[in-house]
């Protein structure tokens, strides 16, 4: 599904006297399978976000190749690359919801981008869109909001939601185009533990019900251990190993906060 073949990313250091360069990633090779939840762990600056952003070609490799379903996005023309990106969902640490749009409009946004010149048509300035297209995308967005249990909040604005709710809306937005792949960049790092559990439980349901492959970058080892099948460990841009995560734990459901608190406080950390 996703293949990294000897991928190196180097930056020329700004202000450097010599043409020296810093390796963000150094000859990384790995592959992520269908319906797999694949973790990437590492300290900050280890290159894990760079690795994630190469999958949808927000960053391009300096050498080596990243292919998604056999397609090398870096080699495509910008227009084709944009089309491919629409098939890869992305979830961010800071949610990146548009503050002036309602929850429903945020989720419907990726669908509306498909309609060329949709912005003009919406204002009655351009060619009318397919009749019913708007209603269809609103229906589809509602469906996704129900999936993440946010259906009741569709008409709110992001500022009225908690962090966990915002991230669930962001997941709904990322899934609205039915992508094969979901990229998650530190999705729980700005959330407290209760909201982290909500978000992770949602991601597990995404895989279980939609069969989506998920690439999950996090520095939180608990999150990776609780959700992933395998995880790449990065250190200073080098892949130091891929961990097969033990299947002992009940990975399909995250314990509730109180359950975990009880286990932790009573010393049962299994």
């Amino acid at each position: 599904m996703i293949e990294f073949d000897q991928v190196t990313k180097s930056y020329t250091q700004p202000g450097a006297r010599r043409a020296g360069s810093v390796h963000a990633l150094h000859e990384v090779s790995l592959s992520v399978g269908e319906s797999e939840i694949f973790g990437v762990v590492g300290e900050s600056g280890s290159g894990k976000s760079t690795l994630l952003r190469m999958v949808n070609a927000l960053e391009l490799p300096s050498s080596g190749a990243v292919t998604v379903n056999g397609v090398n996005l870096a080699a495509l023309r910008p227009r084709d690359r944009r089309a491919q990106r629409r098939r890869i969902g992305m979830v961010f640490q800071q949610f990146n919801l548009l503050a002036n749009k309602t929850v429903l409009a945020n989720v419907a946004l990726p669908l509306n981008l498909h309609q060329r010149l949709g912005g003009l048509a919406e204002r009655g300035l351009g060619p009318r869109r397919r009749p019913g297209a708007e209603a269809a995308s609103a229906d589809r967005a509602r469906e996704m909001l129900d999936f993440v249990n946010m259906g009741a909040q569709a008409s709110k604005h992001p500022a009225q939601l908690s962090g966990g709710e915002k991230q669930r809306v962001a997941i709904a937005r990322a899934l609205v185009n039915e992508p094969d792949i979901l990229l998650c960049d530190e999705p729980t790092s700005s959330l407290d533990s209760q909201h982290t559990d909500e978000v992770m439980a949602t991601l597990l349901r995404v895989r279980a019900e939609m069969g989506t492959s998920i690439l999950l970058v996090s520095h939180e080892l608990d999150v990776i251990r609780g959700a992933c099948d395998r995880a790449a460990i990065l250190e200073s841009g080098r892949l130091t190993g891929i961990a097969e995560i033990a299947r002992l734990q009940a990975r399909e459901s995250f314990d509730s906060y109180s359950e975990r608190a009880r286990k932790y406080l009573e010393g049962d950390q299994e």
């Binding site: 949808n56 927000l58 944009r82 990106r85 890869i88 961010f92 990146n96 503050a99 002036n100 500022a159």
Partner: protein, 225 residues
């Protein structure tokens, strides 16, 4: 007081005419600000160093234009632009001619405001648009403008008020307007009370515009609630 009211009554025609002239000058220049200044400011934001579509030469060109227009003292700018004005609208005298230099200033002012308003939008918004496969036009119309709209309205309010101020000196090229009325009748004919009444009128107008702009911008802003 009675005498003032009587004289105001006498000048009623001129006052109405001057208000219409001011309205025309504002209308043309603000139209130019929206049609030219908004895309220009957006272009400056996109093309600036570190912007989403960095183009050094484009930024230098637009930035240079804005800086030149804004730095030439306005009265000199009006005079210096006369040949262009004559070429563009066929005359260098009257309200329409006065709208030309005003439009230049409105475009330059608004372009700068638009650039600065867009810079305030979190960089993550651009990243989101990229990840969703949006093209540049969609980035601007579907992501940046909706997020920046309250700031764009507020800056348009500021530009409008500046244009009222600039328009008051358009009497030098026969542009007329409220400011010209105040100077001709109030100052040059020593009817100071007429001048003060006119100034009060302008103050009220500015306050109304500011109130309207602030309210509209608040209604459009959902960032904190």
């Amino acid at each position: 007081m009675n005498e003032l009211a009587q004289r105001l009554g006498e000048y009623r025609g001129e006052i109405v005419t001057s208000i219409v002239e001011t309205g025309a000058m504002l209308g043309w220049s603000l139209l130019a600000a929206v049609l030219i200044g908004l895309p220009m400011g957006t272009g400056m934001y996109l093309a600036r160093r570190g912007g989403p579509k960095e183009r050094g030469w484009l930024y230098s060109g637009l930035n240079g234009f804005v800086n030149v227009v804004r730095s030439v003292p306005f009265l000199l700018f009006v005079v210096a632009l006369i040949p262009f004005t004559r070429w563009a609208v066929g005359t260098s005298f009257g309200t329409t001619a006065a709208a030309v230099p005003l439009s230049f200033v409105a475009v330059a002012l608004y372009a700068r405001w638009v650039e600065q308003t867009l810079v305030e939008i979190p960089r993550d918004t651009v990243e989101l648009a990229d990840s969703l496969g949006a093209n540049t036009f969609q980035l601007v119309t579907r992501f940046l403008y909706p997020e920046a709209r309250s700031g764009l309205v507020l800056s348009m309010t500021t530009v409008t008020i500046s244009m009222i101020s600039y328009s008051t000196i358009m009497g030098v090229v026969g542009g007329g307007g409220v400011g010209d009325f105040a100077i001709r009748y109030g100052y040059q004919r020593y009817e100071y009370d007429i001048m003060y009444v006119t100034i009060a009128l302008i103050v009220v107008l500015v306050m109304l515009i500011q109130t309207f702009g602030t309210r509209l911008s608040m209604a459009l802003d959902h960032r904190s609630r």
